[in-house]
């Protein structure tokens, strides 16, 4: 089942990347990042069956980082919405030269 699990996680990661590239809603882009992190978690778990339980420990760390990232990122989105009244990333171009 290792090959199938790796293929599944790669497909999910690809779907997440395509979502990040094609969507404009900042919240949905964030959720696509979460999907990519989940795909990587699946890789870690699938490989941990063969290469030791350290992969599952890494999944715990990835989940912690994902929680921290979601908290900070969503706070940034709320702050942006207060300034611009939008979460469409086409309208958020302060740093574009």
């Amino acid at each position: 089942m290792l090959a199938e699990a790796l293929a599944l996680s790669a497909v999910l990661f690809t779907i997440g990347v395509i979502g990040v590239l094609t969507r404009r809603n900042a919240i949905i882009i964030f959720m696509c990042v979460e999907l990519m992190l989940n795909a990587v978690n699946l890789t870690f778990v699938a490989l941990s069956r063969f290469y030791g339980v350290a992969g599952q420990v890494f999944v715990v760390f990835v989940m912690t980082v994902a929680a921290a990232e979601a908290a900070v990122g969503l706070a940034i989105i709320i702050a942006l919405f207060r300034h611009k009244q939008t979460v469409n990333i086409q309208d958020i171009n302060l740093l574009r030269g």
Binding site: L2, E4, R24, N25, I27, L35, N38, N41, F50, Q56
Partner: protein, 183 residues
């Protein structure tokens, strides 16, 4: 490398894999952030089933509790707080060139998978067969992770608490209304 699996196991593995991919596709194509979030929760549930099937029951439970239960609820709270209006007003999906570029990128990544799946890792990295099962049976689902987490990775675990503290402080400062004082 793979031992022989019973047919019922393989069937359920493929079933939940297909559910995960289908919900992920539904998730990226939804306009409304709320229905997108709910499809993503569905993906996470089927992934947690796969985690349990891959001998990681604790990770499966954490997936439901932390991802589906906490992180996605925070997302839904933010969607509720922002009051974005009707989803069709957002003009959400990017134009043609972005779609073509994303499609090409997706094809490149899938080709990469195909190449990587042809490679074989060296055998001396691989655990002896049944090592994980015996650890699970000896230490239990939680103990099998807790042993390395609190022995080999103790420093990383403690540093994680610093990361969370900084994230909490950052979220509070960023989420504060501009102009209001902290006092």
């Amino acid at each position: 490398m793979d031992p022989h699996y019973p047919l019922i196991y393989v069937f359920h593995f493929y079933l939940f894999g297909v559910i995960a991919i289908a919900s992920a596709l539904a998730f990226v194509t939804r306009k409304s952030p709320v229905s997108a979030a709910l499809w993503l929760v569905n993906t996470m549930f089927s992934l947690s089933v796969l985690f349990v099937m891959l001998d990681a029951p604790f990770i499966g439970v954490m997936q439901v509790l932390v991802y589906a239960g906490a992180i996605m609820v925070v997302f839904l709270f933010v969607v509720m707080l922002l009051n974005l209006g009707h989803p069709s007003d957002l003009a959400d999906v990017r134009g043609g060139w972005w779609k073509i570029g994303a499609g090409v990128f997706g094809l490149v990544m899938l080709a990469e998978i195909w190449v990587v799946s042809k490679t074989r890792l060296s055998g001396d990295l691989v655990l002896p067969p049944g090592a994980n099962e015996s650890a699970l049976a000896k230490l239990g689902a939680v103990g099998a992770i807790a042993q390395p987490l609190f022995k080999d990775y103790l420093l990383a675990f403690e540093l994680t608490s610093v990361l969370l503290l900084i994230a909490i402080a950052g979220a509070v400062i960023l989420g504060r209304k501009v102009g209001t004082s902290a006092r």
